[in-house]
Symmetry: C3
Subunit: 131 residues, 3 copies
């Protein structure tokens, strides 16, 4: 398991971590699976389009509309329930297959760290398993 | 990794791909894990009830209500931000255990390709790993 | 694959299953991956904060607001479409890495069985794979 550190800059933000993950493919691995895991509870990970940055912003804005920061029924005292909810909606891990030593992503896919309560110092855990 | 091709027929649609995935279990595999991966950014994959098709329609209609096609804040020029968002809400992959050469699904569970911007030609990538 | 049984007590409820999963780590496993799988279609699994129980309640209440039990467009006759939708929003499985015979969770993370149509007798399937 390898740990990647990153510093997010905004309250809500997608950070493209595809390159960080690709760099950690073990040199002797031909086929296997990669698990990208976010060990936080107010951030998640998702795979989506990377070509047009407005897609990332549209996702974040839609999530903000669905899960507003202030809800009359929120009871968690830290005031970041919205971030916890968005983290569960996106999920804490993604799985990607490795073939011919290459991460198998679709043409337009990038892997995004999904910050929902930044800016913060964050960690990602990346594990490669051989078949 | 095996690739399955499919053609979706509607803008939003669940396609039951359970049989396609089951057919690809390697004959010599007794125990392992199956990863079903969707390499698109406007489609996802989810596991839910297959017996009553109205469940699939209810899920799609609810997602349409939550994430309308026209939002004043959408900036992505292709006009399919809603599809990108629903793809991230469902997720790009599912993991299923294989035991006794059988895909271990619950009684009512089927695996669905979740089309959110069809009709299109689509791909699914299926990988089986032995323990 | 090991099966864990649980009985939920409420219609919607998060049950902390971290300890059940930790107990099943094979004694001879040093490194590997754990897949927690929910074989139901009106329940899911998610990883989120366990320290303050109000986080779990805030997530459930937000999901109830997003996906009400009664929607004019629901057609599924069993009347539990909301539970099916929430199950797909949370997901049917989570992956966690095992290192040094320990489940690698973040400081505040717990694994929750997400009941959306209880109270019911439920099952969880847990599989550990060695590298």
């Amino acid at each position: 398991m390898k740990e990647v550190l990153l510093e997010t800059k905004n309250r809500s933000e997608f950070v493209d971590i595809t390159r960080n993950i690709r760099k950690l493919i073990p040199k002797d691995m031909k086929e296997g699976v990669c698990i990208v895991y976010v060990p936080h509870t107010t951030a998640g990970v998702t795979i989506n389009e990377g070509a047009d940055p407005s897609v990332q912003q549209d996702i974040l804005n839609q999530l903000d509309q669905l899960v507003p920061w202030d809800q009359p029924f929120f009871q968690h005292r830290e005031g970041n329930s919205a971030a916890h909810i968005k983290a569960s909606l996106m999920g804490s891990s993604v799985c990607i297959t490795v073939e011919n030593s290459q991460l198998q992503l679709g043409t337009w896919q990038k892997i995004f760290f999904a910050e929902f309560d930044g800016p913060r110092r964050r960690k990602i855990w990346i594990t490669y398993f051989s078949d």
